[in-house]
Symmetry: C2
Subunit: 142 residues, 2 copies
DNA sequence: TGAGCAAATGCAAATGATTCTTATCTAGGT
DNA sequence: ACCTAGATAAGAATCATTTGCATTTGCTCA
């Protein structure tokens, strides 16, 4: 299944990056490959510590950051109180439901182009990242 | 001048909203009408406490939030460590320079329209706020 | 004008996410 | 089996923001 592939991919990539395969890292990897995308550190920590009680939150924080550095995850600032991490590495944007908190992916191919048209306002500034914060009520919460 | 107009407007509106004209509130109003937009609470607190030394940070936090509730300010989450507050109430977006931290306003009239075209992905979800998060290097930092 | 009351304030302690410190441990190579 | 760089647990530290509470103060109305 997809989960196993994801897990194997994570293990493989982490080996490449020189990350040691510690049991706590394995638990985190597995949780990530089973979880939905857009998790918070705390969500991962809760699940992981259930099966590995002596796990420290700092370890999860550290591991998630390392994975971002290694390119296995993307860090998302969706405006909430805590950061989220995305296993979907494709270029995309997000919609956050203010009722239930659900995060939906959005693929907006022409936003970049649209921006270019308005770039004049920025003079010689160079845009490095463009990301859209959409909030509202999702289909189930309407 | 513009500053005085802004100050008068703030005083007038706050009266309408039933906010008492305390000296600390007056200082905060004046600072806001003189400062550039996109200030942090701390920036306001620094300036304000210079002329009103017994001022408490909590008071500034509370006042800024009240002004947001009263529609005199907009709260901006620009991704930095602290919130920013905008005295510009027009619909607009922001570009943040990652070098110097400068925040520039951007007016993108057709983003909304462009979004509508892509709304299909969201099903019956209702978008309440759309805001664009742009980062890069500003004209002076290139 | 002044009493009364809700609103506002200052202070300090609480919060919550994240990071840092430090002593201890261990995975993986030799 | 042994060594060592890297990893961990535990908890202290940080930092922005919020909150509880005792006290003060604008403002309204008699
Ligand atoms: Mn995503
Ligand atoms: Mn602005
Ligand atoms: Zn929802
Ligand atoms: Zn700059």
């Amino acid at each position: 299944m997809t989960e196993n592939n994801n897990l194997e991919k994570l293990v493989g990539l982490s080996k490449e990056k020189g990350l040691k395969l510690t049991p706590q890292r394995m638990v985190i990897f597995r949780i990530l490959s089973e979880c939905n995308q857009h998790v918070t550190v705390d969500q991962v920590y809760q699940k992981a510590s259930a099966e590995y009680p002596m796990l420290s939150p700092a370890t999860v924080y550290r591991n998630m950051e390392q994975m971002v550095d290694a390119g296995l995850l993307t860090r998302l600032d969706l405006g909430g109180s805590s950061m989220r991490y995305d296993t979907n590495l494709e270029e995309h944007h997000h919609f956050v439901c203010t009722e239930c908190g659900k995060v939906s992916d959005l693929y907006l191919e022409d936003i970049q182009y649209k921006m270019d048209a308005n770039r004049s306002q920025l003079g010689k500034a160079k845009i490095n990242s463009l990301d859209l914060h959409l909030q509202g009520t999702c289909g189930e919460c309407v």
